[in-house]
Symmetry: C2
Subunit: 504 residues, 2 copies
Amino acid sequence: MLGSTMPTTLESLKARLADIDALHNAVGVMDWDQQCYMPQGGGEARAEHVSRLSRMSHDLTVSDETLRLADEARPESDEDAALLRIVRRDLEKATKIPSSLVEEKSRLSSLAHEQWVRARKADDFASFAPTLERLFEIAREEARHLGYTDHPYDALTDLYEEGATKNGWDAMFDTIRQPLVELVARIKESGVEPDRSFLHGDWDKGAQMEFTTMLAKAVGFDFDRGRQDTAPHPFCTNFSVGDVRLTTRFLDELTSAIFGTLHEAGHGMYEQGSPMEWDRTPLSGGVSLGVHESQSRTWENIVGRSRAFWQRYLPDLKRAFPALPDVDLDTFIKAVNRVEPSLIRVEADEVTYNLHIMVRYEAECDLLTEAVRVRDLPEYWNEKYRQYLGIVPPDNRDGCLQDVHWSGGMVGYFPTYSMGNILSYQFWGRLTADLGDPFDLIAHGDFAPILGWLREHIYRHGSYFTPEELIKRVTGEGLNAKPYLDGITAKYEGLYGLRQTVAS
Amino acid sequence: MLGSTMPTTLESLKARLADIDALHNAVGVMDWDQQCYMPQGGGEARAEHVSRLSRMSHDLTVSDETLRLADEARPESDEDAALLRIVRRDLEKATKIPSSLVEEKSRLSSLAHEQWVRARKADDFASFAPTLERLFEIAREEARHLGYTDHPYDALTDLYEEGATKNGWDAMFDTIRQPLVELVARIKESGVEPDRSFLHGDWDKGAQMEFTTMLAKAVGFDFDRGRQDTAPHPFCTNFSVGDVRLTTRFLDELTSAIFGTLHEAGHGMYEQGSPMEWDRTPLSGGVSLGVHESQSRTWENIVGRSRAFWQRYLPDLKRAFPALPDVDLDTFIKAVNRVEPSLIRVEADEVTYNLHIMVRYEAECDLLTEAVRVRDLPEYWNEKYRQYLGIVPPDNRDGCLQDVHWSGGMVGYFPTYSMGNILSYQFWGRLTADLGDPFDLIAHGDFAPILGWLREHIYRHGSYFTPEELIKRVTGEGLNAKPYLDGITAKYEGLYGLRQTVAS
């Protein structure tokens, strides 16, 4: 065209990344629609459309032209340098794994998901075992292609949490394992069993939607740049910085949708806090699964399950749900923080949650190295539950078949949940040091200073820094479990009237 | 891969068409989401994503490889031959227009839409005139590139209705112009002015949604393969044969959402009736705008505005809306069929509707040939309204600025609305000849035989035949306005108590 100049290599690269982003986004919108609104008759065509768009996106990503542009592009700013770092890292990983393996994994995990659903329903581990065996073989092959020094787990977990290694996770779990097991034991020995039966009932879904939307709005989720819908499983997805979607589900326990919404709103506010100028680029959005989870857990657990939060909102809750018995704040707080060893991770309380993660982490490391065979997984799993939680699953449905991750070939993901729990308390410690007692603010429903601090120190950085760099910038140190252990120990000693210990 | 055989040229072509379909579909889902659910903050990124996906789809369509495959592919069945005919026709058109013109039109019409919205709001035709001028220049250039024998309009209208020409439209309008003008005059002279004030009110939106969903279900729209949402403008879109989406809006006139829903359900049932085995191919779905509109008008006007329909549903309507006065069937039917020359096409009744279309058709033919200049359009428009409808718009907002089409560069589209009206009566005549009096069925809410006939004769053929071939197969003749003129003359003579004429 007359008057136009040739784009630089960097500009050409950015244009390709924008095309890839558009394809990703199309898949994202289609997935959201499928979970929230799509009629059942749309499933077959939707699967076909999504698979074609995913293939186009993959082809464009690993094309010779994209690789050349990424190789030759020269940064013109610090932001460009950060962007190039991310792009090159992603491309290196994407090109190391042969297309044939990508395709086999994609085909197998689609099949495996159906098999897993059936096997779980029928409590039939044996029918799923051969596929799970093959999925772990693929994981081993992936690790081999990606390369590692110490342990194949390093190669895989780095896909979910940049810089993470098995050694790092081991150190993290070694720090929290014993204190958590002991805290659970002390709580059990206390004999205190808070009543939470009053939370159960046939609660009106419309009223639940209204109340949870009010809370999401109150804590700072921006509904001009997002929305909330219902879906069978709660999740958060985003199509741009200006369009972040939460979903909520309504169970017969009144607080399930409330804490679920605060959790997803935490993810959502992180995405909404990313700079507009990075929208639709790899610099935009949450930096890693662990850091993301720290934000969902902050709003769900530290804020949402606090006495201060319910000091502010329990009267509103009672007004919105007149059938709720007129319990006092103390009873309510004890109910929503009740610690109870249970079988199901997603329903676990804040104290036992990481013990569930440890079982999975240890299982997948041992499956990867074939220290344990897939056919022996149920026994292995049950023994770990006995050891860490003091209970044994009566079947595999609520045992080793409960989570979706492995059927999707995701190995190395689980520890990021624990990292999020730990990190939420670590960040909260810095926030408290800067703001003074944030629970004073929470008790008045004044969340803006808290959200403002998180935006300033975490959200506005998008994916500019590595997770390690970001954690260092915010906390002045690496991942450190002490604030988490101190925090939950103090919280639950108080709630359960335990003799205070000196935190180790 | 081992054991796999090389795909044939035809198979390779079909794979490319499936990729193009996936991209189209992504744009379709994003557009639906934008109109139904997207938060305002998502607009900018959505526009960027849609524009990139549209470009990818266009590039893939007109790529050398697609052209080569379409050229070299050999049909292996009658269906393949029909598919190749459609593909080659589309490609021929797509490649005749230079990319630079496609791009300019796309950019300009995006800008023009915003200008049009502002100009209409401010009743400021002059601010929109230069852009409209350029849009008609582009239309002239498009026509020149596409080629035509008699009139540039032929090249453009064929994009919306295969095989249509200006001569054909002229003949169609010449047949209906005078009878319609006369019928409107006779109705006016009758002095009868049915009361429809009782339809106005602040009707509950939830109850309207429930009632319109019930009706859509009753006439045969399949909610396992579709859904209904609310949107500012009613429309129907589909992502596959198994996933067809209707939208409805709620105004203060009770029947607006009802007839709007029946209209969109008519479009929707046509799409749902396309064969599953053609899903995601160019053979799937409605064959042309005119034939599509015939189905929406059948269900909206012939079925939905009939006495038989309300004989069945007026009691239900009164139960659903207790605030509705207890009017009798006769009063109700006269109200929903009231004929009244008005300024706004989309709110026009069944008799005056085509007069609105004629004004636009004549205007766009004359603008295209520069028989009238854009700056003189308001005067031209108002004179046509005086002549055809006996009223003169007091401003351009409700005059020549009212429709969106020209701001999108769509010239040649309007006559398909009239074709749909005419065709709906023509098809209905054949249906009546085959089924006996369909109004007996309608009075009992038994729509299955009617839908079954339409599926068998029209819907199941998808786009296999050309529109002309399909009309010939169904009716044994070409487009013929006599059944329409006879039908509405008899209907409105009855409703308005006019002296009966012998239909010409």
